[in-house]
Amino acid sequence: MTLTDLANPSRFLSLATRILPWLAAATALLLAIGLYLSATAPDDYQQGATVKIMFIHVPNAWLSMFVWGVMSVAALGTLVWRHPLADVAQKTAAPIGAAFTFLALVTGSLWGRPMWGTYWQWDARLTSVLILFLMYLGLMALWRAVDDPSRAARAAAVLTLVGAINIPIIKFSVDWWNTLHQPASVFRMGGSTLDRAFLIPLLVMAVGFTLLFLTLHIAAMRNEILRRRVRTLQMLQASKPRAAA
């Protein structure tokens, strides 16, 4: 199977139908193992049991950035190769990415609540995720605002790439803004300081969630291809005067 084969929407449909069950099964298996491992993981000596929220917060936060990466690659596909499948990949990733970003926000605020005493702190990490969430919503609004899918795809691709360049700048600015004021951050997870007992469940969960995204994305792409096919057929039906009546 070469890349050009994959790029054919009909081939993609048959391939998607074949691999989706396997992918879904692998996702379910990994998530089950991950859930078991995080349930049995020990408490943190500082945070107690609330550290368990980390096992779902971090994968969601990782996906919020990973999905934007996927969209950026698809955006390149749209702009450079002008391929319709890249448009479809871009469009369907946005709502799924927005959902994961939303979950990262909510789990983050639930994790912070016991430490801060409020549900929301303008903490550097959480604030960056919030801005990312707004960007996802803006992108979805853009997709809905333009009727013609291929024109929407090009506009969205430009916005996605600008966003990808801008995200580090935003992150840096927010960090700088935040150090001026210094609220306590609970999100300390430098790789080396993290205990092995946390690291393994976290990794399993992260891989499980990534697979979950891939499953959902491929399924959503399949739906979008079908949706476009329906639209084309509707146009065809409309242009045939009364033939079908």
Partner: protein, 200 residues
């Protein structure tokens, strides 16, 4: 029923378009307003529809419903189709029919007359220009009004559409309606001509 205009004067942006214009349309009669571009054909229709203010003269409908104004008893079919692309064909038509007070049973009949019944569930966005025009013609059928003011009604229609539309107009005239139409192409029904020249 008789529609008369006397001594009509029309001004657009301080420029006089026409003045001293008289016209008369009787029940069951069609009048084709012809003339070169800029003679004021569209303006005359919009004056009659109450969509432009008269600069002089008067327009009256005799024998209509006494407590309704002329615009309330008229249909105006302009260049713009008054359709929302996001709504389906039947949603568009049934909105106008609810809003203008037509008979709900007429919707599907009107759609089949203009030949759009097979696309009733599709969004109006996928329609071609000619089909959009047919859909706005369906509005004239779904809601009964005695006076039809038509601005270039057959533009964008194909031959078959023009024939359908001619039949629709004939039906309207036979039912005692009256038609005032601005047109370049000849109307396909027996019509008196009202020639408007740039010289007045």
């Amino acid at each position: 029923m008789k529609l008369t205009g006397r001594g009509l004067r029309c001004e657009r942006g301080q420029r006089e378009v026409f003045s001293g214009l008289d016209f008369m349309v009787a029940a069951g009669e069609a009048v084709a307003v012809t003339g070169p571009n800029g003679a004021g054909k569209t303006s005359l229709l919009r004056l009659t529809a109450g969509l432009l203010a008269l600069a002089g003269g008067s327009i009256a409908l005799e024998g209509g419903e006494p407590d309704l104004t002329l615009p309330e008893q008229a249909h105006y079919l302009g260049h713009r189709d008054a359709l929302k692309p996001a709504l389906s064909v039947s949603e568009n038509l049934s909105f106008w029919q609810d809003f203008l007070g037509g008979d709900a049973a007429e919707t599907s009949h009107a759609l089949s007359v203009v030949g759009l019944d097979h696309v009733a569930h599709l969004p109006a966005a996928v329609l071609s220009a000619g089909q959009r025009r047919r859909l706005s013609v369906a509005r004239l059928l779904a809601v009964k009004r005695p006076v039809w003011l038509l601005d270039e009604p057959t533009s964008a229609l194909d031959t078959e559409g023009q024939n359908t539309f001619a039949a629709i107009m004939t039906g309207h005239l036979a039912g005692g309606g009256l038609i005032l139409a601005a047109t370049h192409a000849p109307l396909d029904v027996a019509a008196r001509e009202l020639r408007m020249g740039a010289v007045g």
